[in-house]
């Protein structure tokens, strides 16, 4: 038995099944990210004056990632348009570009995560705080070496907007015997990083999930073009809608986390 309306739209709604399905799914996604954004607002507004980090993320890197994702949106829509115009070769080229851009986005995000996971805040027994990227951390050695700076007050670490207060980094060798606490800039470090990793991690999972679907349609799934091109085109449209939603979420994440 054939399932009705997998290709042709229903007469009353004018929609085929998958389109209704993806929009219902996207509606639930809006609420998922909406809940996380409202958590962000609560945490940020509730943060004491001077304790919400600024300038902790690399704006040029974030800008490049935004441009990458926007470009992947146009290649996705062009891939769908190519199917509509019966140009399967062009579809392959555009979706290959989308895949490449998706991988680029994830690579850049991984670089940013790596930068955070190699960044340490070291509280010394004399009250000073050493902050910077790890250079040497051999457990057998009696020294830890970081490239960073010393501060007396933790608040000096929060507003790092270089345009306001440029600071000098140097290689610091710290004896382990002087270290009271040593912590990476992971999600456990503070509230800002917790919400940053939650929001961007969930978004990155969506990018990876979308890329897997697009990769399937570009590779083994594209065989359907020979047997049922109209249904294949619908699949490309549905995966595209999901991809544009992922782009849409990033459009808000970028200014919220990187710029303001």
């Amino acid at each position: 038995m054939d399932i009705p309306y997998t290709v042709q739209p229903r007469e009353d709604t004018g929609l085929y099944n998958a389109k209704v399905g993806i929009w219902l799914f996207l509606a639930s996604e809006v609420m998922l990210f909406g809940a996380l954004f409202s958590s962000y607002i609560l945490l940020r507004v509730g943060s004491p004056e001077g304790y919400w980090p600024r300038g902790w993320l690399n704006v040029p890197v974030g800008t490049v990632n935004t441009l990458v994702l926007i470009t992947s949106s146009i290649t996705t829509v062009m891939a769908w348009a190519s199917c509509k115009m019966n140009q399967f070769g062009r579809f392959k080229v555009f979706h290959a570009c989308t895949l490449l851009l998706a991988v680029t986005f994830v690579c850049i995000k991984s670089y940013e995560y790596h930068d955070k996971f190699t960044h340490y805040e070291i509280t010394l027994k004399d009250g000073r705080i050493a902050d910077g990227h790890i250079v040497e951390n051999d457990p057998k050695a009696d020294h830890v070496v970081i490239s960073g700076r010393y501060v007396q007050d933790r608040r000096d670490l929060y507003d790092l907007e270089v345009r306001k207060a440029p600071h000098h980094h140097e290689e610091l060798s710290i004896p382990r015997s002087q270290i009271e606490k040593m912590e990476r800039y992971g999600p456990w470090h503070n509230t800002y990083l917790a919400i940053y990793f939650t929001l961007t991690g969930l978004h990155a999972l969506h990018v990876i999930g979308g890329a897997i679907v697009i990769g399937f349609l570009w590779g083994p799934g594209s065989k359907m073009w020979e047997t049922d091109p109209e249904r294949f085109t619908n699949r490309v449209e549905i995966s595209g809608l999901f991809w544009h939603f992922v782009d849409l979420v990033w459009i808000f994440l970028f200014p919220v986390l990187y710029l303001i």
Binding site: G34, S38, I41, M78, A81, L241
Partner: protein, 105 residues
């Protein structure tokens, strides 16, 4: 495929490209605006979110074809917008009703 159909599709593709250029421009404007001291940080936040809303409209309206979608999709999204605004309203209203003994900074 007829020549008329081809031409109409070319128009669509051209529109996608204009939207793409507008999104690139919007991104650069967002970054540029964040470096302008408006005097109050709240204005910087408002400007960044306004530009983001404009970009979101372009993506949803043209790339996701919401500008010419069926009524049922608008219905689904109408419910979503209603509950999303409710969620944001709850978040904001939480600041008007602190429980007793709340420590504020």
């Amino acid at each position: 495929m007829t020549a008329q159909h081809d031409e109409s599709f070319d128009q669509h593709v051209r529109r996608y490209l204009y939207v793409f250029y507008a999104l690139l421009f919007g991104t650069l404007i967002t970054v540029g605006a964040s470096y302008i001291p408006f005097g109050n940080h709240a204005i910087n936040i408002a400007v960044a979110l306004c530009i983001a809303c404009g970009k979101a409209f372009l993506v949803a309206g043209f790339f996701m074809h919401l500008i010419s979608e069926r009524k049922m999709i608008y219905g689904i999204l109408g419910f979503t917008v209603f509950f999303f605004l409710g969620l944001m309203f709850l978040t904001v209203s939480a600041y008007a009703d602190f429980p007793p003994l709340t420590v504020t900074h």
